[in-house]
């Protein structure tokens, strides 16, 4: 376990990893987002009462739904790319192309989802 890091946060933020780095960061943020908020959601549903209902009403707010749906959708689509590439390692050669395909799939799907969420919030 001789792991040592001498990279400051400022250096890390200036790292020009381009597409793959961006998906890595977003995958991590969206995964963390889901882990944190779904944990709170389960605990709130378990607790019930006034507090639980209040927390779950936040989850039903359309602004929160836009955020959590980004997490779910990006994590799912990026995760599918990672799964395909890791189970068929020959595909890793085309990682950058795969990331472009991923955005082409993700952006319209997410746009439609946001449209549905906003329309439902406005009374469908």
């Amino acid at each position: 376990m001789g792991l040592k890091r001498n990279v400051s946060l400022a250096t890390a933020l200036r790292y020009k990893g381009q597409g793959p780095m961006l998906t890595y960061i977003l995958h991590r943020i969206s995964g963390l987002g889901m882990a944190i908020f779904i944990t709170i959601h389960i605990l709130a549903s378990f607790a019930g009462g006034r507090g639980g209902v209040f927390v779950n009403s936040i989850y039903e707010n359309w602004l929160f739904q836009i955020f959590i749906f980004f997490c779910v959708m990006f994590h799912a689509i990026n995760g599918m790319r990672i799964t395909i590439q890791d189970l068929w390692p020959k595909a890793i050669k085309y990682e950058r192309e795969a990331i472009w395909v991923e955005w082409v799939i993700f952006l319209p799907l997410y746009a439609i989802s946001v449209l549905v969420i906003v329309r439902t919030a406005m009374g469908g």
Binding site: G31, I38, A76, G79
Partner: protein, 143 residues
């Protein structure tokens, strides 16, 4: 990555718990796709009569349990509250919790490199996983 010769033992070829969890993360991702697609099909089938909207279908798909669609326009919950769907939603809960907790361990490992810290992270993660499965399972089955 060069393949190791086959006369080595499995552990010498890299088969260990971390590798199995790496594989589990990929396979559970595929399993969750299957679960969510199955939930969507179920919601389309059961919600057709009440003209369920797309948002509510997705709501059901992400957790096919009756508590998750309580606030929707569904009138008759007979089809939705069956033991079959409780088993399906429990399966999704188990896989999602295992996948998520392992993800948290992977993230923690990026910041905690010492063997002692990593061991503590693993103990906490196992306790957290058991707690979430018990609490989530209670929510699903008590509805």
């Amino acid at each position: 990555m060069a393949a190791k010769p086959r006369n080595l033992s499995l552990s010498q070829r890299g088969l260990n718990f971390e590798m199995l969890m790496w594989l589990f993360t990929r396979l559970s991702a595929l399993a969750m796709y299957a679960f969510i697609l199955f939930g969507m099909i179920g919601a389309l089938y059961m919600g057709a009569r009440t003209q369920m909207n797309f948002a509510d279908i997705m709501r059901w798909a992400f957790m096919p349990n009756v508590v998750h669609v309580q606030d929707t326009k569904v009138i008759n919950f007979d089809l939705w509250a069956t033991p079959f769907w409780k088993v399906i939603s429990s399966g999704l809960l188990l896989i999602a919790v295992a996948h998520g907790v392992h993800g948290l361990v992977v993230i923690a490992d990026d910041y905690l490199a010492g063997p002692r810290a990593r061991q503590i992270v693993r103990i906490i993660s196992i306790l957290f996983m058991l707690a979430m499965i018990l609490i989530g399972g209670y929510v699903l089955w008590s509805s």
